[in-house]
């Protein structure tokens, strides 16, 4: 049945996505919630108590997420009396502890259910405090990509300042620390630099307030992850910045992206293949699509992209599917034409099809953690040739 999970582990929630994002900024988030938030993942032997080191046995490596999340710590009685005073106290605590450059307000499931009025708190922040603030409309029930996407959009409404366009400049949108590493961001920047582009700001990666402010000067936005799409659409509406979509993985894909960035126009999506898929990629939509294009160049006729996480319909090909139950995953894996599946090994469900593991930091408790690795430009082609 839908929404019943028996074998597939839970992923990071939308609020945890926001938490991972905050780590890379000078801002904080205040969440109306009954409990607080500990760091999402510590490196082995790193900071904190052993129980804070996520993953079986606490032996996982990788790090993202901090305590730049302040909880209002609501209780049963607040359901009746309202939570705004506790949210306000949390805002003040956050300002005292972190001295943030900006602040995002959001709601956890219980607060979302009782209809917490963050509008009142936002008005008070604007009247009494000198910190840019915005509301991120989350409820703790969606996946991390949705949370990061909505938070990036909210940041886009308060951080960039209107600037004259600087030709040859680009913003990277969606390069967050769950699906990307700082090395990947650096390699992408180098690839862009080698092709005459200068990166103005990195939305999701480590970034300064100064660069966020200057982001509106970019000639084009490159959306490398589905979580950057809302922000790209907002910046197109607000600042007139066109956007190009795709993870810069694989030589052919990178050439296409450079061409689109130069022209400022997106090429139409290729047609879907006929019949059952011969390859299945389960993961973040844009990374999976880049891998699909690599497989198609290697003779695969019908490659399908599926995801348990947020997908954008505008960039789905026929047959692509947003999975909402284990039954749907099982039916995809049962397809007789399948020759290979790419995805988190926790999705296997006993499938005997050839399986190529993909990074899985969005998995809240993976059996085996796999951090993202560089696929920029030709790196994906070399990886694909190795695993196929």
């Amino acid at each position: 049945m839908k929404r019943l999970w028996k074998t597939v582990p839970p992923c990071l929630s939308d609020i945890q996505g926001l938490q991972a994002l905050m780590n890379n900024t000078e801002g904080i988030a205040v969440v109306d919630d009954a409990s607080s938030y500990k760091p999402l993942r510590f490196a082995q032997g790193g900071v904190g108590r052993p129980e804070n080191r996520r993953g079986p046995g606490g032996k996982q490596t990788g790090y993202f997420g901090t305590q730049r999340m302040v909880s209002s710590e609501v209780r049963e009685a607040d359901v009746i009396t309202g939570t705004s005073e506790k949210v306000w106290k949390a805002v003040k605590t956050g300002l005292e502890v972190f001295h943030p450059a900006f602040l995002l307000l959001t709601t956890a499931p219980c607060a979302a259910m009782i209809g917490t009025d963050h509008g009142e708190t936002l008005g008070r922040i604007r009247e009494e405090l000198s910190v840019p603030a915005a509301i991120v409309d989350l409820d703790g029930q969606k996946d991390y990509l949705c949370g990061i996407g909505m938070a990036l959009e909210a940041m886009g409404t308060i951080l960039p300042e209107k600037r004259e366009t600087v030709p040859g400049t680009v913003n990277l949108l969606g390069c967050h620390s769950v699906d990307w590493t700082e090395d990947m961001v650096r390699e992408t920047e180098q690839w862009l630099k080698d092709n005459g582009w200068k990166v103005l700001s990195r939305w999701g990666g480590k970034e300064s307030m100064e660069n966020f402010k200057n982001a509106a000067a970019a000639a084009v936005n490159l959306v490398v992850n589905v979580s950057g799409l809302r922000l790209a659409r907002y910046m197109e509406r607000e600042f007139g910045i066109p956007y190009v979509v795709g993870a810069p993985f694989g030589k052919a894909q990178c050439a296409r992206l450079l061409e689109e960035m130069k022209s400022g126009e997106r090429a139409p999506l290729p047609e879907g293949g006929e019949g059952g898929p011969d390859a299945l990629i389960i993961g973040e939509q844009f990374s999976a699509d880049a891998i699909r294009r690599g497989l198609e160049a290697r003779g695969y006729a019908n490659v399908r992209v599926c995801s348990f996480f947020e997908m954008d319909k505008g960039f789905m090909r026929p047959g692509d599917r947003k999975l909402v139950s284990e039954d749907e995953l099982a039916s995809e894996l049962a397809n007789e034409n399948l020759r290979v599946v790419f995805g988190d090994t926790d999705y296997k469900m006993g499938s005997q099809v050839k399986w190529v593991p993909l990074h899985n930091q969005g998995n809240l408790a993976p059996a085996s953690l796999m951090v993202p690795f560089s696929m920029t430009d030709g790196a994906m082609d070399r990886w694909l040739d190795g695993v196929l």
Binding site: M1, R3, L4, W5, K6, T7, P9, P10, C11, S13, D14, I15, Q16, A34, S35, S36, Y37, K38, P39, G48, R49, N52, R54, G55, P56, Q67, V70, S71, E73, V74, R75, E76, V79, T93, V97, A108, P109, C110, A112, M113, I114, D139, G140, Q141, K142, D143, L364, A365, A367
Partner: protein
């Protein structure tokens, strides 16, 4: 007003006939400083039982490793109703359907139900659900009433406000 001792050892007052989201289901408290127990302890005296967590994805961050470990052993499942499911009351049917499906698939006749804060906000009548499961399907269900919103599962997280004061 009647007082009952919670899992965390604190006393909570409840108006008779007022808010009530079930009885405590045995085992020890699994949140809080000191006396912290594994989730598996909820199944200690119930070798053939299974845990069902009903709540939002965000609530799964508490004890995610333990929950997933039990999931891999086939001893825990998660049901994540949507906001609409809660608002319309459909989640009550989903809980029964999920338990019946798990029972039929795995031959399990005893369940321990854990919940997130939405359950508490809605004052979910667990006794009614348990009665339906018993009468219609011969399934025994008990409730583990540990809840952050009710304040009996606190202390597990790193609270920077406490840290700052220390």
């Amino acid at each position: 007003m009647e007082f009952e001792r919670t899992r965390g050892g604190r006393e909570s007052g409840r108006e008779e006939g007022g808010r009530r989201h079930g009885r405590h289901g045995g085992g020890g408290r699994h949140g809080g400083r000191g006396g912290k127990k594994e989730l598996s302890s909820l199944l200690e005296s119930k070798p053939g039982a299974m845990l069902l967590f009903v709540g939002a994805l965000n609530c799964a961050r508490h004890r995610a490793d333990q929950m997933t470990g039990l999931m891999r052993e086939g001893r825990l499942a998660m049901l994540c109703p949507t906001a609409t499911d809660y608002a319309t009351g459909r989640y009550l049917h989903q809980i029964v359907d999920a338990i019946v499906e798990l029972s039929q698939e795995q031959g399990i006749k005893e369940f321990v139900v854990m919940y997130g804060c939405q359950w508490a906000v809605l004052s979910t009548d667990f006794d009614l659900l348990a009665q339906e499961l018993k009468d219609d399907h011969g399934i025994t269900a008990t409730l583990d009433a540990t809840c952050h919103l009710c304040g009996n599962a606190q202390g597990d997280e790193d609270d920077h406000r406490v840290r700052e004061r220390m």
